[in-house]
Symmetry: C3
Subunit: 350 residues, 3 copies
Amino acid sequence: MTTAAYPLTTQEPYPHDQWWVAAYADELGRHLLARDILGEPVILYRTQAGAAVAVAGICPHRAFPLARGRLVGDALQCGYHGFEYGADGTCLRVPSQSGVPQKSSLRRYPVEEAGGLIWIWTGAPEKADPALLPDLGAIGLGREDWAVEQHPLATVEARYTLLIENLLDLSHVTFIHDKTIPGGEKVAAIPVSVIESPQSITVQRKGENLPLNPLLAMQFPDQQGPVHQHFDAEYLGPCLIRTGGAMVDAASGAPLGIQNYLHMITPASPTRLHYFVNTARDFGLDRPQLGDMQRGMGSRIQPEDIDAIESIERVLQSGATLPPEISARVDNGALKVRRRLEAQIRAEAG
Amino acid sequence: MTTAAYPLTTQEPYPHDQWWVAAYADELGRHLLARDILGEPVILYRTQAGAAVAVAGICPHRAFPLARGRLVGDALQCGYHGFEYGADGTCLRVPSQSGVPQKSSLRRYPVEEAGGLIWIWTGAPEKADPALLPDLGAIGLGREDWAVEQHPLATVEARYTLLIENLLDLSHVTFIHDKTIPGGEKVAAIPVSVIESPQSITVQRKGENLPLNPLLAMQFPDQQGPVHQHFDAEYLGPCLIRTGGAMVDAASGAPLGIQNYLHMITPASPTRLHYFVNTARDFGLDRPQLGDMQRGMGSRIQPEDIDAIESIERVLQSGATLPPEISARVDNGALKVRRRLEAQIRAEAG
Amino acid sequence: MTTAAYPLTTQEPYPHDQWWVAAYADELGRHLLARDILGEPVILYRTQAGAAVAVAGICPHRAFPLARGRLVGDALQCGYHGFEYGADGTCLRVPSQSGVPQKSSLRRYPVEEAGGLIWIWTGAPEKADPALLPDLGAIGLGREDWAVEQHPLATVEARYTLLIENLLDLSHVTFIHDKTIPGGEKVAAIPVSVIESPQSITVQRKGENLPLNPLLAMQFPDQQGPVHQHFDAEYLGPCLIRTGGAMVDAASGAPLGIQNYLHMITPASPTRLHYFVNTARDFGLDRPQLGDMQRGMGSRIQPEDIDAIESIERVLQSGATLPPEISARVDNGALKVRRRLEAQIRAEAG
């Protein structure tokens, strides 16, 4: 491919000094979960007390994949020669001798469990501050007064930036999702504004006086008249993009509810990504069919996005010379995101 | 592999400033045909008026493969965000805005339709002169007084030069085609002469006083006595090799007819080629069974050549060190072709 | 991967100036056996008189794989244009001409047949001295007074050094072979001594006063009391490792017998190896069920070792950054072997 980190202009494909989602919280237990995170093989599990643990996935003794080991109490035992490592990575035992070799500990990654997600820090451990996690409560995660639906994890054969760009330019809805999101072209036609803050960049479309379509009618069965609806794409860092937004009664301005789609993106390698999706709403908590509907829509829509970006990834890997890139005005928000992400990567490089 | 363009001594694997076959004419229609040509993804289609069009296969907006788009009138619409490009490559519409971005046109390739083939020019467009097409009428294409059989396109996992070399040294017939071309060893034993002209290099075998074998008897049912038969391999550029040739009555010298095998070779990538084959004859136009026989023979013989050159390609890609190449006297014509092709590639490089 | 020849610190992955096993003797016959040896495609066969022949596997004429040729008497005929090469590699015939081109011979490899094995020398041919073969008689090969079982050849997707290291650190038995070698942890717990000689490095465990386990009881049905048993891992060069060893009656010191496991390792490429295994014993020659048992155990145990080293190879090829390597005291022998092998490779490089 022509540039390692297309569409970025950096050499490094991703920033390390930030939290990324490693797993859904319910994926972790008393078994070894192996997952590549930012190009590094990682083993995830829970201690007997339930704490989440993330350590390097390669035994420093003879490079055996620790995914093929097993848990012995809270320790991870290598499946080759039985070296045992504690939950903090310290080498505890080498079966063939008394004592352990010097410098034999395993790399341990800082982890945080929040919002039903396991967050991991692959950068400098001393910088791993829980205060740097995104404000999950603000988007509906980890709260009793919101309903959250967890969608199946998808591992996608595409660089993570392609998914970020996909989500920030929703003018693709008319073409990629023409069968699964009827009426999407009307949303795509709404003028866009871009709102920047230190924490986020939001590409915002405000739909005004929208007639009650079947989806709105199902979500708000008591609503009679038209609705104002936000169609946001909010970049909260490369790890998290929120789409969706608030709906209000057009006549009175009274809030009806918020429906968020939360896209957690984690690079697995320079050309592969993990795609975690939650939907969260602050209404109809007693109607589980709304959650079923969100999962059903996701099961149809997400494969279309995945298919699109995987086809771009194949182009990039084919070695074909890319034409000079052009952008439309609607790409303004996505281009701001690119610049911010590049600045983040460059700042880490020093 | 040791050298990118084996058996050439150039760095560049192919010349661009010449016509190559992109497709059989009847492959094109009101649908998108995606094909890699000289390493470039190309989209081929016909306008509503029937004109052949070839444009670049990657959208300059976000690198989406245009093969996944669709035709809107004569325009090509990208399947991702709906950018539309006219048949000349000009960007006509960006759905999310009025007007189009600057420099947003798609690369357009010159094409010519001749002899039942779509010819493409991937080099400098201002040099694309139809007068540079091979003289197709001289070999039986695009004429009412010849019968032409079109063989299925084969895409072969081998660099195109291996097929050129294969066709120019027919001494392989005895070994590769020993089951499908009985008696081939007698042809291989005929002394070879090499005839050079500015347009071609011909490796020529003149078979004299050949007894009527079953193939000749089927082609010329009225013939009684022996036949003089040409077994040519004529290089008409890297895109086109003619094998076969004229047959005459040995007693009188009266012409019986010409049977040509036309091999159109187009690199898809440095290690893959498209192989178009036509057979053409100027006799027995009213006997379609002769064409059926040619297609039948091709369906048995061509896979043997393809299998041979693909096995060489695997050797080249295995990384095995190649022994210093030796050549036989019969390779003289093929070596002249190599030198001419190298000179053509070097002349382009300046 | 981070270093081409991990775990070695050399650039070259293997030494050439030594004998390696190319095949079991009974694999060779009047057919072409193609095998990659130290990265080179080789063709092996027997002459009509039965002599083993090894020549290069690529025709110097047009790089055709000679594996697709055939034997004509003692000569090897290329399947493309019929070039014929004698058993000494000399080009004997080019069908399209009288005489043969200059410098047209095929590379011939020195071979020796010894101990039921075909040994090949890929280095400088003038250095190929049969006296440099390992002392096969000393380990039970090629002798009437020992019984030898030949195990199926396995071609393994791992660099050969991983298998050498595997065999020299038998503390893995407890973990990799916990189901197939019951009681292995008791053996692993025996203290290790390392014995060096110019020809070998032996990691030695001496089991003392071992109670008669079922395996010993089957091997020595007349034995009553406990046994002293050697568990050696003897490096006899990168091509050959012996494990197993002698057993004696603990009470009297009288020898019971020797059971050797002979591991012949040949690199196929920098990341692939051929694994030949023989077992050899000097007792119970009249009880073929002892050989059946050895083959049966091998069919269960060897796949476990292969699986382990292939999983390390995948780690190495994944591009994951390896942690700094640590070693245990029990690795002392394996580390001495590494240093000796590196010195051998460096000495060849000059």
